[in-house]
């Protein structure tokens, strides 16, 4: 072994060992766990563990709450991604305007919610969304909209949580989009302006094609994020009202660490994994397609 090789292994072996131990090994074990009936009895004594094949998966298919969780998570993603990406893009476009001063200041301020603890800010938003004393309903009452029972009405609970999530995360993609916008070819923009293209026309035909790939990639990555919602419903609604905010991960947590059905929960985890994997593959495809553009 060369000197360089020895050093390389000294530098990499410790962290690789930890990765193998806390990530790779447990992921393989999750596969094994998902075909067992691991429950509170096995937790007490391994002898109670039985192999049940795909039993956990077939049970899941007939569990209404699991389908509910899948549906809720899908709804979170379908509504949440356009909301979050739209907010990020609007903020980035505003910031990108040449006449705006003190840009670094605004950028940091708008990004600030992203670095805060989800639990703490979810607690804050629980009160902002309060039906009687909340700031949001107060604002709505000023424009004549009656009080909305944000976290108590099953039809309002998902939008309510999404308002919070959008507020919390839009700063991240705003920064990404700001960088993409600064790469929009200025000579093309100038040419379009001279040709008399409207503001909207310039956005549609110059800006959008230039930032399109970034936008698409951010959207797909956001889907993966929305599939992993947990702390928000855990803190703000505890899955309610009427199970309207039970997400896949929330279901997994309850199944695993409230009822100790770790076999069942592992099956849920694997399904979540497959969903995220599908999203990642779409993302990789998009990445490949636009690399040579």
């Amino acid at each position: 072994m060369t000197r360089q090789e020895r050093t390389a292994w000294t530098f990499t072996a410790p962290v690789l060992a930890i990765i193998a131990f806390v990530l790779i090994l447990p992921t393989l074990l999750a596969l094994a766990l998902s075909v067992t009936d691991y429950s509170v009895y096995a937790l007490a004594d391994w002898a109670n563990l039985r192999f049940i094949g795909l039993g956990n998966f077939t049970t899941l298919l007939t569990t209404p709450l699991f389908w509910r969780a899948l549906g809720n998570t899908a709804l979170f993603s379908v509504v949440g991604v356009p909301m979050a990406i739209g907010a990020s893009l609007l903020a980035a476009l505003l910031l990108n305007d040449a006449t705006v001063r003190w840009k670094p200041l605004w950028r940091v301020a708008l990004f600030a919610p992203y670095v805060t603890s989800v639990v703490a800010t979810a607690t804050v938003w629980q009160f902002l969304l309060n039906t009687r004393y909340g700031l949001l309903n107060y604002g709505l009452s000023l424009v004549g909209i009656g009080p909305v029972d944000w976290l108590g009405d099953p039809r309002a609970s998902i939008p309510a949580i999404l308002i919070f999530v959008t507020w919390k995360i839009f700063g991240y993609n705003m920064i990404v989009f700001t960088a993409a916008l600064s790469a929009v070819p200025q000579d093309l923009m100038e040419a379009a302006r001279l040709d008399g293209a409207s503001r909207l026309g310039r956005f549609r035909h110059v800006t959008l094609p230039a930032i399109g790939p970034t936008l698409l990639l951010a959207a797909v990555m956001s889907v993966a994020g929305f599939l992993q919602l947990f702390a928000e419903p855990y803190v703000m609604t505890q899955g309610g009202p009427a199970q309207s905010t039970v997400t896949v991960l929330y279901f997994m947590f309850d199944e695993g660490f409230k009822w100790w059905n770790l076999g069942q929960a592992s099956a849920v985890a694997l399904i979540l994994f497959v969903l995220i994997l599908a999203v990642t593959l779409v993302q990789a495809r998009i990445g490949r397609r636009y690399e040579w553009l």
């Binding site: 990765i19 447990p26 766990l33 004393y133 992993q228």
Partner: protein, 287 residues
């Protein structure tokens, strides 16, 4: 006759006003969190919601942070232990995280060893495994090892920094090989090359990474919630969630808890925001 203002100037004023308005709206929840936390108990429960305390009071912080004797028994919300736990856990996972990933990232970028490319591909592939999949079996493994409800149990999974390795590798690729080879010709040892040449060049990236790690650990919720069962070991987010379940109606108290949890990291972020933003854009790993 009104003074005519050029169109471009009106546009500039409007654009600036719009940005200022959006920023104000974004910061409003955080500002409200702070002002409500200083309101006397029950004051926030009014309509229209007050934004400014009628008198500034520390009573919520006092109740939250100070141990009191109630009916002959000591009672407290265990926020002070939680603060120390969060601080200690975040500091240790940052320190160990850096010690483990910075040399590894450098090795993957600049040192030649057999299997390097294959390992690198493996690391990138394992990035797509969501951590939640590993959590259930990991809990059982840690239970067998007696790591449940321990600080080590919280910290250990955070040290599997695949993203951090790739982040450091990306930054290290920019260092010219000639520089390192020249040092080798001069007889410098590999450890010395890393310590005296590479590390100083990587300093800004290391600060960025440390910030990412500290904030990530401080804000982490799901795993600490799973692995910690003793209230005295809770980190801040776990403690705040637990207090919130019982005191959901006490707005002022919960805002004080939120302030204690968010303000330290917000201050840290503001102090080092240049490094954070550079990390987000410059040295970021794509995909």
């Amino acid at each position: 006759m009104a003074v005519t203002v050029p169109r471009a100037r009106i546009r500039a004023i409007l654009a600036n006003a719009a940005v200022a308005a959006v920023t104000l709206l974004t910061l409003l929840p955080l500002a409200w969190m702070v002002t409500v936390s200083f309101m006397p108990r029950g004051e926030a429960n009014h309509f229209p919601p007050p934004f400014w305390p009628s008198r500034w009071s520390w009573e919520n912080y006092h109740e939250l942070l100070v141990r009191r004797l109630i009916d002959g028994a000591w009672f407290d919300y265990r926020m002070v232990p939680a603060l120390w736990n969060s601080l200690g856990i975040a500091a240790l996972s940052t320190l160990f995280g850096l010690l483990l990933t910075v040399p590894a990232g450098y090795a993957f970028a600049k040192l030649r060893f057999t299997g390097r490319e294959r390992l690198l591909r493996l690391l990138i592939v394992s990035l797509i495994v969501p951590g939640q999949v590993a959590m259930l079996p990991l809990f059982l493994i840690f239970k067998e090892l007696g790591l449940v409800n321990s600080y080590a149990g919280v910290i250990l999974p955070s040290l599997a920094g695949i993203f951090a390795i790739l982040f450091v590798r990306q930054a290290t690729l920019g260092i010219p090989d000639e520089m390192l080879d020249a040092a080798r010709l001069d007889g410098a040892s590999e450890a010395r090359i890393f310590g005296s040449i590479v590390l100083p060049l990587l300093a800004p990236i290391v600060v960025t990474l440390a910030l990412f790690m500290f904030l990530g650990s401080w804000n982490d919720f799901l795993w600490p919630l799973i692995i910690l069962s003793d209230q005295h070991r809770y980190t801040l987010p776990v403690a705040v969630a637990a207090i919130g379940r019982e005191h959901a109606a006490d707005g002022e108290l919960m805002m004080a808890a939120a302030v204690v949890t968010t303000l330290p990291v917000l201050a840290l972020f503001l102090a080092l925001q240049r490094f954070y933003m550079n990390g987000l854009l410059g040295g970021s790993v794509k995909g």
